[in-house]
Amino acid sequence: MSDVNIPGNLKYTNEHEWARVDGNKVVVGITHHAQSTLGDVVYVELPKVGSSIDKGEAFGTVESVKAVSELYSPVTGKVVKVNDALTTAPETLNTDAYGAGWIVEIELSDTSQLSELLDATAYGDLLKNA
């Protein structure tokens, strides 16, 4: 299955976001599985830099030709960067979900939340059991 592309160095959520931890910051995107399920992404709505978001809160949306999907934050914190390039090239989410398709960078309020995220093995199990 082409859906199985789960880098070992990332953390994951049940809602198919990934998080790359770097000190007290995490870069967030959607997984290969998520973009594959969505299909061709044609629009991304990003939060404002400086806005505060709570873990589990919807902070943006990704839209395909057919459907709208909410983006849920894996952690609580402050948005320090957004990937503005997605506004003009939303298809990057399909072509490079784990790289150029990153969505936001969040500065963590509480690093202990990271332990609540899934590792690659647990996320792989989630997909298998879906």
């Binding site: 399920t37 299909g39 061709d40 044609v42 629009y43 709505e45 839209e63 030709v65 057919k66 709208v68």
Partner: protein, 360 residues
């Protein structure tokens, strides 16, 4: 358990993503909605539309029986022609939108939406005066072959001269050795055919079209691209843009309502509405701000709710966020502006000329 068309295995073999649609297990996409959409605009695409229903009226008086049920007029067309029409309720709203095929005044075949098969058949049985309708839904599979290369592809597989089959005309013949009704109809805005065949022949026909179509760049296309293609043409989708609460005149489908023909269900209401003036209209619009309009989003004018989006998408060919929705008549003219409320944001929109997609 969702029902399966005779092409279910073929879809799975092609790696389609399957979804439940109106109780049917159908392909929503195979590889990419945009690639499938563009294949139909530029080359040719195949759609399994076997989930659609068919109802047949056979015998003396068939034409008159059907003509009293539908809004369009079978008496004005010749044998071998089809019409798009509404099955309307007493208020002039839609029970369904259908295509009626006139084989002869004594044989009419009606193609109905998958989501309305049971309802339509029950409604036709209840209201038919004269010939009794027969549910033929399980006797037909249907493959839509759509795109600028559709005619060439189908012609290479049949001895029937398809150049003689004009728009909304049909013929019976063989395609790839399979008995079929070859109908020059579709739901994409492109030239093409809808091929009706026996369910047992559907896989052979599908595979022959896919194989022969290689040289044309054929793609199997799912429901998602079918929806984006029809939205770019502002073709109505039952349950989205038309339903039992909006009349045919409000939907902008006055051209399929022949108010000057003898009585049909809904006629009186529409005559009265026409005389009184149509108060709300289905329009096509583009967003001028960021976002994509979607079914159910509110339409506001000066902060007040005035209507609702019935369909919307990012048009893959027009490359704009486009929508269809009901607005008050005073906001229906081209150039009128209003807001679409998207997740609490008022996004400006302007009414444009439709279809959104114009052929080059």
């Amino acid at each position: 358990m969702a029902r399966r068309t005779p092409l279910n295995d073929a879809h799975r073999a092609l790696g389609a993503r399957m979804v439940d649609f109106a109780g049917w297990d159908m392909p929503v996409q195979y590889t990419s909605v945009i690639a499938e959409h563009e294949a139909v605009r530029n080359h040719v695409g195949l759609f399994d539309v076997s989930h659609m229903g068919e109802v047949e009226f056979t015998g003396p008086g068939a034409l008159e029986t059907v003509n009293a049920l539908i809004s369009n007029d079978l008496a004005r067309i010749a044998d071998g022609q089809a019409v798009y029409a509404g099955l309307l309720n007493e208020q002039g709203g839609f029970v369904d939108d259908i295509v009626a095929y006139r084989f002869s005044p004594e044989r009419i075949l009606i193609c109905v939406n998958a989501s309305n098969r049971d309802k339509d058949f029950a409604w036709m049985k209840e209201h038919a005066r004269g010939v009794t309708p027969v549910d033929r839904g399980d006797d037909f599979a249907q493959i839509a072959v759509q795109g600028p290369k559709a005619a060439g592809l189908v012609q290479r597989l049949t001895k029937t001269d398809t150049s003689k089959i004009g728009t909304y005309r049909f013929a019976e013949g063989e395609v790839a050795g399979v008995r079929a009704i070859i109908s020059r109809t579709g739901y994409t805005g492109e030239d093409g055919f809808e091929l009706y065949c026996a369910p047992g022949d559907a896989a052979a026909l599908w595979n022959a079209l896919l194989t022969e179509g290689q040289q044309d760049g054929v793609k199997a296309c799912g429901l998602a691209s079918r929806d984006s293609l029809r939205t770019e043409m502002k073709y109505a989708l039952y349950g989205n843009d038309i339903d039992d609460t909006h009349t045919a005149l409000e939907a902008g489908l006055g051209w399929i309502v022949k108010l000057d023909k003898a009585g049909f269900i809904g006629k009186d209401a529409l005559v009265a509405q026409k005389a009184a003036g149509v108060k709300r209209k289905l329009v096509g619009f583009e967003l001028t701000g960021a976002g994509i309009p979607r079914h159910g989003y509110p339409i506001h004018k000066d902060g007040k709710p005035v209507g609702e989006v019935t369909s919307g998408t990012m048009g893959p060919t027009v490359k704009k966020p486009i929508g269809i929705g009901y607005v008050p008549a005073e906001l229906a003219a081209e150039g009128s502006t209003f807001d679409v409320e998207i997740r609490g944001r008022a996004v400006p929109a302007v009414v444009v000329k439709t279809p959104f997609h114009k052929k080059p």
